[in-house]
């Protein structure tokens, strides 16, 4: 299954890239992440609570970062297994900076199996998109936080509010661009 999308983050590319490779940040930002430990150079062991619809459960597995070219690119390889099934995939993240905004494009191929494949297939694209949204909204907040500040919190409502405010801002920007032109 192909998964792809883009997200606009209001932070510098360097800050976003740093956030995207910091295990402490990732642990906070990945929805449902309960554990993320470095096991090797650029390799992490993770426990994730995730699911689609009623098919939920705990996945454990490995995450590996490859082909790291700061601050513009890395490749993510993930393999995890749990009661609801398994998932394995790899994808590329590309970061571009435009007018102080970092555009993250991701595209990857994910294979899923077990119950989530048989029951949740129809909803997985949507679910993955939602998780990506939550994740990048959280990363944005992380990247906007200075090192000396306390790390941001990422509860469901907080993330939803941040996502909504981001949307509204973009909408206004689009409007003002329209009236300017």
């Amino acid at each position: 299954m192909k998964i792809e999308g883009t997200h606009e983050l209001r932070a510098s590319r360097e800050r976003v890239y740093q956030a995207l490779i910091d295990p402490e940040v990732l642990k906070r930002a990945i929805p449902g992440c309960e554990r993320l430990e470095k096991t090797d150079e650029d390799t992490y062991s993770a426990t994730l609570k995730a699911g689609v619809g009623s098919i939920k459960g705990i996945f454990t597995g490995n995450v590996r970062l490859e082909d790291m070219r700061p601050p513009s690119h890395y490749r993510l390889v993930i393999e995890a297994r749990g009661q609801p099934g398994f998932l394995k995939g790899e994808g590329d993240l590309d970061l571009e900076e435009r007018d102080g905004i970092t555009v993250v494009s991701y595209s990857g191929d994910v294979k899923i199996g077990g119950t989530i494949a048989g029951v949740g297939q129809r909803m997985i694209q949507g679910s993955a998109k939602m998780m990506a949204s939550q994740f990048f909204t959280a990363i944005e907040a992380e990247a906007q936080t200075e090192a000396h500040e306390a790390p941001p919190k990422h509860g469901f409502f907080r993330t939803a509010l941040r996502w909504l405010s981001g949307r509204l801002r973009r909408l206004f920007r689009a409007r003002s661009q329209k009236t300017n032109s």
């Binding site: 297994r81 398994f86 199996g113 077990g114 119950t115 494949a117 048989g118 297939q121 129809r122």
Partner: protein, 789 residues
Amino acid sequence: MANKYVGQRVKRTEDPRLIQGLGHYVDDIKLPDTLYVAFLRSMYAHARINSIDTSQAAKSPGVVAVYTGKDVADKVGPVPCAAALPGLKVPDYRVLATDHAVFVGQPIAAVVATDRYAARDAVDLITVDYEELPAVVDVEEAAKGGPVIYEEYGDNIAYKLTSGEGDIDAALASADHIIKQRIMHSRLAPIAMEPRGVLARYFPGEQELTVWSSTQIPHLLRTQLAIMIGIPENKLRVITPEVGGGFGSKLNVYAEEALLGWISMQLSKPVKWIETRRENILATIHGRGQVGYVEIGCKIDGTITGFRYNVFADMGAYHQLLTPAIPTLTGLMLSGSYRIPAIQMNVTGVFTNKMATDAYRGAGRPEATYVIERAVDLIAAELGLDPVEVRRKNFPAPDEFPFKTATGLFYDSGNYEGALSKALEMADYSKLREDQKKARDEGKIIGIGVSTYVEICAIGPSQATPAGGWESATVRIEPTGKVTVLTGASPHGQGQETSFAQIVADELGVDLNDIAVIHGDTSIVQYGIGTFGSRATAIGGTAVFMAVEKLKEKAKQIAAHMLATVPESVVFNEGRFSKEAAAAAAAEETSTGGAPAASDGKSLTIQEIALAAHLARQIPPGMEPGLSATHFFEPSNFTFPFGTHIAVVEIDRETGDVKFLRYIAVDDCGKVINPMLVEGQIHGGIVQSIGQALYEEVVHDEQGQVLTGTLMDYAVPKAAHCPRFELERTETPSPVNPLGVKGVGEAGTIGATPAIVGAIVDALSPFGVRHLDMPIRPEAVWRIINQQP
């Protein structure tokens, strides 16, 4: 005998209990102290199992036991395959996987707990160390090479078989046209309304095991379970309570059935497992699953010269009871309702990392009918002839029966033109074609599809069947005059409690309500074969009829003794034995308005004879007391029902949706016992055909994951998808049995799909379409109409 019941629309005697919810399916049977079983199933289509850790599950609240493949490997025998074909490879498929998982859904471990939720929760606590192996999913790729499932075989070929008669190469060489087409038959899930279910209870004192199972074959199951579990067959009782549909999916012996029996013996407690719908779609057999290449030769006038079908049949990962035999039924029926001098089928049975295929309503015959009917339509398209004319041109005439085909069969009787012309008349075919032309001019997309099918029923003579092709019946009259019928058939929705009672009621001249038809309990009913292959009425019904005849013969001898005459001068009429002279007098009295003769010493009712037979004081010297007769009926041939189905469809240009304008079916299943039951069978069959043609397909991804794991994803037709059916019959009795019946259980799924697909292809022919593979979804149709490949 007077036909008071046979041929009448008698309401099903089963229905009052079923529609009030008073029937008993497996899950309705509650035994004290029952434990529940849940299965851990493979999440990989192909994997090595390095280790299984059940320690957490075993500690979970309510859990009584956890079993893995290692615990049962040398205790429970392999899942049986009854099909014998030359060179057939039969994998040693165990009830729980030990170190090698070969499809998604394969049972790996069984958890036994005090309730079903505790069992299910504990399944999640088992951890399996899998090593994923490359899966082989596509049947043609699996045949060519790709990952090999069983290393010891070296390839994925289960068997290769060539069948048919005649010089196919010469026949094709003599043709003016040769038409080739690749044809797909997607995998279907039978989706019985009641999933599978097993309850097993072992009494350690008596050393007796009872297994309640939702099956179509209680006796065959008993034999196979006895072998698998190693319990003497006379200590094993299989009970088939109410069964909510089978469609062939319960014509089988499953791992779960043996395992439940064995677990009950270990724990000396009742154990139950009721399949969930998800398990049902994953791990109950699938149907169809063929990819075939058709090559048909014809003369310029449409006369067929030869027909070759090269087919890859998807076995799945192992063989269930009849898996490899299903394509051989395809081979038998490739001649369809046509005279074809030379036919050849080359079948390659192929292992793939998927659940096994097996019999699903029609079992190999829908595939045959579909390819020959599609091929005839292709001939018509190629030659610019009307598809009806091509069919007519190749029909054998009614006086050519028994008709020998190049597949080695003798069709018992038939009048194909009769059914066709009746259907054409009902449809007003020539006007339909004119209307179609007009509608096309108005921009509408309308198509007409015709299928003239013949199918093989009453399976079958024992010589042609893996495990006995006969059927048994016992008929007895109890001392109070009530009639008990024990049938070896195992009806599960067909309504034979009613139709068999109709046969007996007419033959014995008793009231329908005085007859009880008992089936599906191996401790009560003599050995039987079961219900499948549209066999129960033609073979099981005949066995009942023959048993009644035997019973009447004995009753007549008793009557003669009691009436102080010889059996030859006793006549039996409407439940009463009379001396010939008295019978004549009684008839005269009746005709002059008098009451029929009472017990006047000149006549006796069958009930009076029954009592006398049990009291045994007035029976002929040396005669066995009692009034009971058993018959095992062995048919001399299959039967061959036939018919014509016509579908008229309109396609929505905007959405690609297919709408039925009309659906006409004229079916000939020989003599009919109960027209309402026949219509019910036809309705259900056509609906499943609509499902196959338009919606249904078990979809696997490239790693063998089932993507259609729920009824939200696997689309079964609903009432709104079904047209009004216009049904008629012709009646060509079968000479194979004294009832003249042929069978009708599968006619709908066999006859309807080619008509539906034919209609859609006809509708889309202005867009250059000659064939489409099922299921024909709106998207595919829309792309054709909008020229968007």
